[in-house]
């Protein structure tokens, strides 16, 4: 047991039980998995990814490269650092050899997102961050302070003095002040993991196991971002430095003061930086026998004196070359003579790396500072300040001043005693066998690997990283990246500054996929759009299909019916009597203004301005490239007002398209566009008996052809509610589209159904609608077209105005290729066996004489765009795009279906009622 009394911020009055590698162990609230295991003398957590060497913990927080565990209970989570896992009762974990395991079942925990706006975001609640937050709050600004550890204070251990009192008292006081201040949001256990443009920072809050949500991503928009994320200590590379028991000096210190864990009893501290002396003294005070090896020629006088007073031996001018031991370090090999110095803990400090990730994410440049022996932020980023250790400022007094200056005035900074600073040494590695000098212990990558990369001709750190895989592991090279740069520079004989280092990319620490997904799951993944009649469709047992975000009733199967049967029944009902469909999803745009006709003439291929009030016209829209992208009907409501309908999937696109022309090309046109898609619901009543149904519901309307002709509309009322009737048919049958304000659509649906009972009115869905229109050769844009089809290809030259000097797409029709007789035309296909149902999407080829499909490549003539069984024709039929199809009507070609070749005859697109007799009943 290495727990020492009088140390640590854990609750020793309570004991938690957890299981690691199958052994039940205990911990205290406030313990991490790492501290709890070290407290019980467990130094080896797993084995390394490639060589299977034992691995312990090097760091005490997110910088640790190798203390990876797999959580099994309460729910499997892969590849977490033992140093960052809070122990909860019942936790089950195990060490992993570099690869984690995902659960076989879905995670039932929920993950939330929240937007947060503030004047100042401070990242890091160490001394710099706390003071920055305090000063901003005192200035009355909206402040958000996030810090990734469970408690504030950063690397303060409690041995420091701030404003004449122990540092942690100061921390508590500031935290209390912030808690009391209005407009301050202080979040611990919250990691700012990504920094994007314009003060956008993403932070992951760990709300706790079992809480709902389990985690929350805060999307923070800050006027200013103050990065006070501290710095990570850096090891020094020497032989077998990957052995458990080798640890960063700061980590041992953190474990002692945060968790009351003394990580070793006999300690050697190997350093080129003053900061490690504090660790030496602290561990000594806690009862360890400590010896310091300082690679610098002279030990820092003040620290040396304090060590002497404490009886700590300091050896300057020498270094550690290697270690002895099995699963745990037994001795350090010191100096050229590799003198054995017994120890069970070998602390290392090669200096510090500022945690400048959030500065780097938004394009901030890092430059090597020779005095600092590290990369630090260079230059300014608007709206972003980097302070304290993250900026390469390590002396507490200076750190506090920078924090205060970031949001207020340095003069308001709390006081701390100045520290003696002696120059750091630059030491990436000590002499030894490169093959046993591990640079990235998470990847088992050594100095020898770097040497091979350099020998292979690689001169860029990016290449070295990729060749050796250094810095690509779970920790993203927080401790190894700079070492690799330094050692590579040495081997290339170039200054490390000129070589540079690899870029920091988001996220700063790993983030669960589910946390980023947030609540965009299941039905909330994408909006479900429904019509006012939706509940009626559900009640009628409709099967739905997704059309864009809409749920559309596809068909209404009766008990025992499959889709084919239901659709045949629905089709027969419409052709034989009457059916009704909910057409409310159609896009509707109110086009108003004196120049409304001018605009529509620009955008439709045919002439709309000549349409008479009270009449309806079908129109086609093309892009500049001359390809059809939408169609629909246009009602002229008044001289200066049209109602345009679009396809369901294209509604928003068409409105955007029209707005774009009005706003960016023809701003002088006096015309305004308003979306009324949800304002109006459309119920289509179709079939020879539709006139009877309409006549019954709207008794005072003369529904005769004479009074109410095809492609005309008229307004009426029902119970005082305005209703519009339009003689529009997408089925070829006599049909009326009934339009009403959506508030009343459900009732009107009921009313029409009831009125149609005598004629067996049948609700029909999109599938039946598709069959009926296909029998008439009406294309569905997006199904029978694919963005490469012109109106002429569709046989719709009649819908392309010859009168208009120009309209969008017209010029493209004049390209030579558009006149090519071998363009694909929309035609019908009838399988000659009158039985085979061609799969939609099937390709079409010439019918070989021997009836056998030749080996590939086989020239394709086109493809099947629509294919259905027709109740009316009593056979399957299809629509297709076929090269020169209209000139091949009557010819027989072939469609490969599975390993069969199906002979099909090319025909005209209109298969039912070619003379159009039915539309007038």
């Amino acid at each position: 047991m290495t727990r020492v009394d009088g140390y640590g911020r854990i609750d020793r009055t309570r004991t938690l039980s957890f299981t690691f590698d199958g052994i039940v162990r205990t911990a205290h609230p406030g313990d991490t998995l790492a501290s709890a295991l070290l407290a019980q003398g467990v130094t080896t957590l797993g084995t390394s990814v490639r060589l299977g060497r034992p691995r312990g913990v090097l760091g005490s927080w997110t910088e640790d490269p190798c203390g990876l565990v797999q959580i099994e209970e309460p729910f499997p989570e892969p590849m977490l650092l033992a140093t960052t896992v809070d122990v909860v009762d019942g936790l089950v974990a195990r060490g992993v050899p570099g690869r984690g395991r995902l659960a076989e079942v879905a995670d039932t925990a929920r993950y939330d997102h929240r937007h947060l706006h503030c004047d100042v975001l401070v990242v890091g609640a160490g001394p710099a961050g706390l003071v920055a937050a305090r000063e901003a709050a005192r200035a009355g600004q909206d402040v958000v302070l996030v810090d990734d550890r469970p408690t504030p204070g950063g690397t303060l251990t409690g041995t420091e003095m701030i404003d004449g009192r122990p540092a942690l008292e100061f921390v508590d006081a500031v935290a209390a002040e912030l808690a009391a201040a209005p407009h301050v949001t202080h979040l611990q256990a919250t990691t700012a993991f990504g920094h994007y443009d314009d003060g956008f920072v993403l932070a992951l809050e760990r709300c706790g196991e079992g809480s709902d949500p389990r985690q929350r991503v805060h999307r923070i928009r800050a006027g200013r971002v103050v990065v006070a994320a501290g710095a990570f200590e850096r090891p020094i590379v020497f032989e077998d430095a990957d052995r458990p028991g080798v640890m960063l000096a700061s980590a041992a210190r953190d474990l002692l003061h945060r968790h009351g864990v003394l990580a070793g009893r006999v300690v050697v501290v190997f350093t080129v930086d003053d900061s490690a002396y504090a660790a030496a003294l602290d561990l000594h005070r806690a009862g360890a026998a400590v010896r310091v090896v300082d690679a610098r020629a002279e030990a820092p006088a003040g620290w040396a004196r304090r060590c002497a007073d404490a009886g700590i031996v300091v050896e300057p001018g020498t270094d550690v070359r290697g270690t002895l031991g099995d699963d745990r370090v037994r001795a350090a090999l010191v100096g050229e003579a590799r003198r054995e110095v017994p120890c069970d803990l070998l602390l290392v400090s090669g200096g510090w790396n500022p945690t400048a990730h959030l500065f780097s994410h938004v394009g901030g440049r890092l430059a090597f500072d020779d005095e600092l022996v590290g990369f630090r932020p260079a230059g300014d980023l608007p709206g972003t300040a980097v302070v304290g250790a993250a900026h390469g400022t390590y002396a507490l007094a200076d750190v506090l001043r920078e924090g205060a200056a970031a949001t207020g005035s340095a003069t308001d900074a709390p006081h701390a005693e100045p520290e003696e600073i002696t120059p750091r040494g630059t030491l990436w590695r000590t002499p030894g066998d490169p093959a046993r000098q591990f640079v990235d212990i998470a990847r088992d990558a050594t100095v020898a690997d770097i040497a091979r990369a350099v020998g292979a001709g690689m001169t860029s750190v990016e290449h070295v990283k990729r060749y050796t895989t250094i810095g690509t592991a779970h920790d993203q090279g927080k401790t190894s990246g700079i070492l690799a740069s330094g050692i590579t520079a040495e081997l290339l004989g170039r200054p490390v500054g000129a070589l540079g280092t690899t870029t920091f990319r988001p996220p700063y620490t790993p983030v669960p996929f589910a946390a980023l997904a947030g609540r965009d799951r299941g039905d909330l993944y994408d909006p479900v759009r429904t019509t006012p009649v939706h509940d009626r469709h559900v009640a009628l047992g409709a099967e739905f299909e997704d059309v864009g975000q809409w749920k559309r009733a596809r068909h209404y199967p009766r008990p025992g019916e499959d889709m084919a049967a239901a659709v045949l029944r629905e089709c027969a009902a419409v052709r034989g009597a009457v059916g009704m469909m909910d057409g409310s999803t159609l896009g509707k745009i109110d086009v108003r203004g004196p120049d409304a006709g001018v605009l529509l003439d620009h955008l439709y291929t045919n002439l709309m301005s000549t349409l008479k009030v009270g009449r309806v016209r079908y129109g086609v829209m093309c892009g500049n490239d001359g390809m059809v992208f939408d169609d629909g009907t246009v009602l002229r409501l008044a001289e200066d007002r049209f109602l345009v309908t679009t396809t369901t999937g294209n509604a928003a696109h068409v409105l955007d398209w029209m707005e774009e022309w009005v706003q960016t090309e023809w701003p002088d046109l006096r015309v305004r566009l308003t979306s009324v898609t949800e304002q109006w619901s459309i119920l289509a009543v179709a079939g020879p008996r539709s006139r009877d149904v309409i006549g019954r519901v709207f008794a005072d309307v003369d529904v005769s052809n004479e009074a109410f002709g095809f492609m005309t509309w008229q307004d009426t009322e029902l119970d005082g509610v305005p209703v519009r009737l339009a003689r529009i048919s997408f089925s070829g049958e006599l049909a009326v589209e009934v339009t009403v304000a959506s508030w009343y659509a459900a009732d009107l649906w009921d009313r029409l159904l009831a009125a149609g009972e005598p004629w067996g009115i049948t609700p029909y869905g999109t599938e039946t609608m598709h069959v009926l229109r296909a029998e008439k050769g009406y294309p569905i844009i997006g199904q029978d077209t694919d963005g490469t089809v012109t109106p002429h290809d569709l046989g719709m030259a009649w819908a392309v105005s010859k009168k208009k000097t120009d309209f969008v797409g017209k010029r493209s029709f004049a390209r030579p290729l558009n006149a090519d007789p071998q363009r694909k035309h929309l035609v019908s296909l009838l399988p000659t066996d009158a039985a085979t149902m061609l799969p939609e999407g099937s390709q079409i080829v010439d019918l070989p004489d021997d009836g056998l499909l030749p080996p590939p490549p086989v020239a394709m003539l086109g493809h099947v765009t629509s294919s259905y069984r027709s109740a009316e024709l009593g056979r399957p039929f299809a629509l297709a795009l076929v090269r020169g199809g209209r000139d091949r009507v009557g010819e027989v070609v072939a469609v490969p279906v599975g390993d069969q070749l199906v002979a099909v005859e090319i025909g005209d697109t209109v298969l039912v009622d070619p003379e159009g007799a039915r539309r007038d009943g």
């Binding site: 443009d197 928009r221 955007d656 706003q663 010029r811 004049a814």
Partner: protein
């Protein structure tokens, strides 16, 4: 993740906007007078500078007005945004 200043609605998230590519491409006065090459240039060819770029954005989820922006395609920083078609 840009914060784009709509001249009407103020700063809004990039997610509220739709990109419209190069600005100030006028629809030809008389397309029929253009040869295929010239027409193709209008329909398909666009500037693609590395640096300042005058471009169009539409505040889709807000006022639905088009705006003209000048943005640096290297840093993504907007130098200006203003109502489309206005010079000041």
């Amino acid at each position: 993740m840009q914060l784009i200043t709509c001249p009407w609605c103020g700063p809004r998230e990039e997610t509220e906007f739709r990109y419209g590519g190069q600005a100030d491409l006028a629809y030809p006065a008389d397309p029929s007078a253009l040869d295929d090459e010239q027409w193709a240039r209008f329909v398909f060819f666009r500037d693609n500078p590395e640096g300042a770029f005058a471009e169009r954005w539409c505040h889709d989820a807000g006022c639905r007005r088009w705006l003209r922006a000048v943005r640096d395609t290297r840093t993504y920083v907007f130098a200006e945004t203003r109502p489309y078609g206005r010079t000041a």
